[in-house]
Symmetry: C2
Subunit: 296 residues, 2 copies
């Protein structure tokens, strides 16, 4: 049994707990969270404000903190010999994170699975596969309609924002509209906040609309989707057509992917890996023979 | 540069040649085929009737012979230290082939990529990924409409069949109809041949219709498709919806997948692997950094 700790206990942390409960080869050995929130955990599982306080020591930590906290939290675990899985979703910085965590993992004798989840994650594997099957051509990733967790967290981190929701609307061919719904704290001007949101790296390159709302929570639906399309060339043959669609509960999917990556991490040599660097079979529970017979 | 030999020069062999020409990291070092067919090769590339006659020795052989010849041909290459890629497509016997070739590859210090192509192959990776993302539930693989190469070859192998084409028609939820068009050699009874086709392991479990035709070649279109559907459970969350569609030229896709697998095989330890046992990144040409930055 793989002993797993969950670090951070929000939407994703709770969903990871469900994924671990459903897995036959993993057990939850503790939750790491801020001391002042510990009363929110009702499950009978050890809770600590620092992963080093968990006993027995976890084999792996699934990191469910905000994405910007990941580099530091992951590095700390890895150096202690605790493998990590994160769902770091700032696409432009994934390679840098992987490089940093690769060094820490090799030093600590642990593994880091970087950017597991929906996208980056499952979508990344599909994008890689489609290039394998048709190296020429272009893939378009069309997200939504649905709530983007990464974008929502980014808006909530802006000073003056009381509550927020960022919806992603696919306009086709990889172009998206962002609909951002916010409640503000008293004393903040809507126009200033809207400008800050639009200037954030998460939003700067997309058409972004910001709306003031009275009750953002009433708008929340964590369903999300993707339509991934490639028209490409295999050898000298053009017009090879591919399409991948998901309509999913996003936290549940992300958590499930992360739990599976904890399993795969335990099978790799020390170092950092993204999902396209892992054999799919390592993410699954079962004997090699049973999995090859059933899935190949 | 990876030196590749093509063994067998039919539809797939010719498409593999195109895929190798399009790849920057591979070069074709020879074609292996029966002596009496050698005049059909017009390209300026060494041709031999036995792979051991090629000089320099290939790093890998892409096997484009009929599927039932694969075990013997592959084993012979592997024991000589030449890695192999095949598109063996008898799903029920893949594990047995993998086991046999694993032993030969370890003995010869080579690698065997088993059952690369459309399905098994690309579809296998998608099936594995969907179970990673939603372990509960059922995946349905709906093929076609399109010509099945494996089924067509199986019909052609039946004594008395002069020419044949097997079309796969998706009926949904993994159920298929097989439409088989045949021309017969003189002296053979249609009813006997039809019965033999229906009893063949390729057809025995499907609704199969056999039609006598005057000109089978006029019906041929090597386009094919798949609609792979999963409705599953991530953690405790039901109704996670997934769909993967391809509409492709089948020989071109199969050949491209095989060429990519030759690249991946060169990066593995001696032994046999199916596509779900390979990291997707190993199938792609390019630096790890460039691929992670672009695809993750």
């Amino acid at each position: 049994m793989l002993k797993i700790a969950i670090v951070g206990y929000g939407n994703i942390g709770k969903a990871v707990m469900e994924a671990i409960e459903a897995a036959k080869d993993m057990e939850l050995c503790g939750i790491v969270m801020r001391a002042q929130s510990m009363h929110k955990v009702t499950a009978s599982v050890p809770v600590a404000d620092d992963i080093s306080k968990l006993n027995p020591k976890p084999d792996a930590a699934i990191l469910c903190t905000p994405t910007r906290a990941i580099p530091e939290v992951a590095e700390k675990c890895l150096l202690q010999g605790i493998s990590t899985v994160d769902s770091y979703d700032i696409h432009t910085d994934i390679w840098e994170l992987r490089t940093r965590l690769d060094a820490a993992a090799k030093k600590g004798g642990s593994t880091a699975i970087v950017s597991a989840g929906f996208d980056p994650g499952g979508d990344s594997v599909v994008r890689a596969l489609l290039e394998v099957l048709a190296p020429g051509g272009k893939t378009f990733t069309n997200f939504g309609p649905g709530m983007s967790m990464g974008h929502t967290v980014a808006v909530k981190a802006i000073e003056g924002v009381k509550n927020a929701l960022s919806m992603t609307i696919p306009l086709g061919t990889g172009v998206h509209r962002r609909l951002v719904y916010v409640e503000l704290k008293e004393g903040y001007a809507f126009d200033d906040i809207a400008a800050k949101i639009k200037a954030d790296p998460y939003f700067a390159s997309d058409e972004t609309h910001v709306y003031l709302e009275r009750d953002v929570d009433a708008l929340i639906d964590v369903g999300h989707g993707v339509n991934l399309v490639r028209k490409g060339v295999s050898g000298q043959t053009h017009n090879q057509l591919f399409e991948f669609n998901m309509k999913i509960n996003n936290p549940a999917l992300t958590a499930q992917a992360m739990a599976a990556c904890a399993r795969a991490g335990a099978k790799q040599m020390p170092g950092a890996y993204t999902m396209i660097e892992l054999p799919m079979i390592d993410l699954l529970d079962g004997s090699r023979e049973e999995l090859v017979r059933r899935l190949v």
